[in-house]
């Protein structure tokens, strides 16, 4: 065995360092597209499930709480997502289905138990609040860099950690977006997205900001346990705390279908 060969530990250590250097943080010459591609392949998972506890705080400090369960299959440009609200009673049973389409706007439907049927969400209507939160329907989509023109704009420290700053502008023909620009902050060491500044069309200042924090490794995958979306104009904020996260669990073949979305009491 190689471990019995004199000096093999040093060789292994050197090899490991070399692999890390090759596969690890980006080099200074890498462009934004390469960084985002590497980030996607580094953090891609086949599926993800979690329970989410939402706290919505409006500008007057009034607090509303909601809870949901989220299921995802695929990642970024091929993501399918189903969200089912579990509380409070006014929104319990409300379902949301999002199916990404390469190069096109994501298909989205909302199921309202009171109406007993699903409603389709218009692509240009995605700036609307998602069930009373500070997330819009578009914010519920997985970020797919292929639908954006991207450009690297230097680096910046966030919470003492260096991050790549990348400007992403929606591409023509990449699907409708309510945003004119997104500024992405990608942590250099693990290429993980930790902040997104969202500029609505025609705005010079960001209207909203998404912060991803409390990063942990679950089943070998990095995940932000805390997501905070702030509406910088309204002065409100929505915090999502993730719980019971499971990665790469096979999803039932019918989970991401309109039939399942319409199943009352279903997941």
């Amino acid at each position: 065995m190689i471990a019995n060969v004199p000096g093999s530990r040093a060789v292994l250590a050197a090899a490991a360092i070399l692999i890390l250097l090759l596969a690890g943080p980006a080099s200074a010459g890498e462009d934004a597209r390469t960084l985002l591609s590497r980030s996607e392949s580094l953090h891609r998972t086949n599926s993800q499930e979690y329970s989410g506890e939402l706290t919505v705080v409006n500008k007057d400090g009034k607090v509303r709480k909601k809870s949901w369960r989220s299921f995802r299959e695929g990642y970024a440009g091929d993501a399918k997502t189903l969200v089912r609200f579990t509380g409070p009673p006014e929104v319990k049973g409300v379902g949301f289905l999002s199916l990404a389409r390469p190069g096109k706007s994501t298909d989205q439907w909302l199921y309202l138990p009171s109406m007993k049927r699903e409603r389709r969400i218009a692509a240009q209507d995605r700036d609307a609040s998602f069930v009373g939160t500070d997330f819009s329907y578009e914010d519920m989509e997985e970020f797919d860099h292929k639908k954006y023109e991207v450009e690297r704009n230097g680096e910046q420290l966030l919470d003492g950690r260096p991050c790549y700053v990348i400007t992403a502008i929606p591409r023509e023909g990449g699907g409708k977006s309510v945003y004119g620009k997104k500024i992405l902050y990608l942590r250099k060491d693990i290429l993980f997205l930790v902040r997104v500044d969202l500029y609505r069309k025609g705005e010079k200042e960001p209207g909203k900001r998404l912060l991803l924090s409390d990063l942990r490794q679950v089943d070998g995958h990095w995940v932000a346990m805390r997501l905070e979306m702030s509406d910088l104009k309204k002065g409100s904020g929505t915090t999502v705390l993730l719980d019971k996260i499971v990665f790469d669990k096979p999803q039932p073949g019918d989970r991401f279908t309109l039939r399942n979305l319409n199943r009352e009491g279903g997941e």
């Binding site: 409006n58 509303r64 009673p89 609040s129 019918d254 309109l258 199943r263 009491g265 279903g266």
Partner: protein, 413 residues
């Protein structure tokens, strides 16, 4: 069980055990109505309506079980006796009713079987939908236009973009009409003897229900579908019995019977996203050999658009055939042709909505507005009003005595 006993038993459900707490929800609501005028001395100036609703949901393996009950206390003659009325076939609302009692069993990865009592929603267009018109409704409160659940077996499946929904409803759940001749269902008599009172007679609804099949497909931005339905139409036809009329202290009284016609119907529906709008359309052909019902050709189109946290919805509905339905009873075709515009919006403090319905034949209409204030996640205060207006020859204008304001307090759990 007395009415108070039933309420006490249901109140116990407010304090569920930790086991029940899983998938247990509901609300208790107290609602008061104040009316601007009265149709007759039978109509009260104010009306109270309290509701307790409890729902339990549970998954056992792949099977989904759901049960819900509703208990009500209404301070008017719209309330029926406390009887076990499992299919809502009594003419008046029972203080206790079963809303859900169903199990859903997945037969395969692509097919579900649902058995029991549940509400069904098929229509594509809001406000008025021919696909939903054959479903039973409770018009005890004509402005709420509440759907009644049905006892049925339902097969629901999806294969790729194609969805199928088959329903067999063996028992008719009849429409529930408001008290005839009251403010919620005024009747024009034109009698030379002055004001005539009407008396609902006890009529057994038919046993047979309906079967229906619906196919849907999603192709890109388009949703298309078609459906067919055979069976008994749950909206009754009224049969006035002047041969049984009798004098009463308040004036001559005419009994009214109800009967139910068979009807076959087929419809198509289509919807798509067009820029900022979602466009929907439905068309249905309805056939009946019954001379009082006849055929109808009903079409609806609607356009919906979101504006920030609000939605604007406009629906236009019409019947291409002149169907002989008494317009005074707000039956499903009486209002047509109609334009319905609804605007709702979610605010940081709650939400509001305004609905304007205009009957295009008689120039009558209804304006509804409601503001909901969420005091906390579980306490909600609602203030609203309903204002029928226009010609009294139209089904909505005839409801002028039902103009009202309402205030409700709800606690959910």
């Amino acid at each position: 069980m007395t009415r108070k006993g039933a309420f006490a038993a249901l109140l116990l459900l407010l304090f569920p055990s930790p086991v029940l707490a899983q998938g247990f929800s509901g609300y208790v609501e107290a609602k008061g109505f104040a009316f601007a005028e009265r149709e007759s001395d039978r109509d009260p100036w104010v009306l109270g309506w309290s509701t307790l609703f409890a729902k339990g949901e549970r998954k056992l393996g792949d099977a989904q079980f759901t049960a819900s009950v509703r208990a009500e206390e209404i301070s008017s003659q719209e309330r029926g006796p406390l009887v076990f009325d499992p299919a809502d076939r009594e003419a008046r609302r029972s203080p206790l009713s079963v809303r859900d009692l169903w199990v859903r069993l997945p037969l395969s990865s692509t097919l579900d079987l649902q058995l029991g009592r549940f509400e069904l929603g098929w229509g594509k267009t809001d406000g008025y939908s021919p696909a939903d018109a054959f479903l039973p409704r409770d018009l005890s409160d004509p402005f709420l236009d509440e759907k009644l659940p049905i006892w049925a077996a339902r097969l629901n499946g999806q294969k790729g973009p194609l969805r199928v929904d088959a329903v067999a409803c063996p028992v008719t759940t009849p429409w529930r009409l408001p008290v005839l001749g009251g403010r919620n269902a005024p009747l024009e008599t034109g009698s030379p003897f002055g004001r005539i009172r009407f008396e609902d007679r006890e009529n057994a609804p038919p046993r047979a229900g309906f079967v229906a099949l619906r196919l849907l497909a999603t192709i890109g931005d388009w949703d298309v579908g078609g459906w067919g339905r055979f069976g008994v139409r749950p909206a009754p036809l009224l049969r006035f019995r002047p041969d049984l009329a009798f004098p009463a202290p308040s004036g001559p009284t005419v009994p009214v019977d109800r009967r139910y016609a068979r009807e076959e119907a087929a419809g198509v529906e289509v919807s798509r996203v067009a820029g900022s709008w979602v466009l929907r359309g439905e068309a249905a052909a309805l056939f009946s050999d019954d001379p009082d019902l006849g055929d109808a050709l009903i079409g609806t189109i609607s356009a919906e658009r979101g504006f920030g946290d609000g939605t604007l919805l406009v629906t236009l509905a019409g019947n291409a055939k002149d169907t002989p339905v008494d317009p005074a009873l707000l039956f499903d075709r009486a209002l047509l042709p109609a334009l319905i515009a609804a605007w709702n919006r979610t605010e940081a403090w709650g939400d509001w909505k305004v609905v304007w319905t205009e009957g295009l034949k008689h120039g009558d209409g209804l304006l509804k507005a409601e503001v909901g204030y969420n005091a906390t996640d579980v306490w909600r205060l609602t203030l609203g009003g309903e204002l029928p207006f226009g010609s009294e020859k139209g089904p909505l204008g005839a409801l002028h005595a039902a103009r009202r304001a309402h205030l409700a307090v709800r606690r959910s759990w």
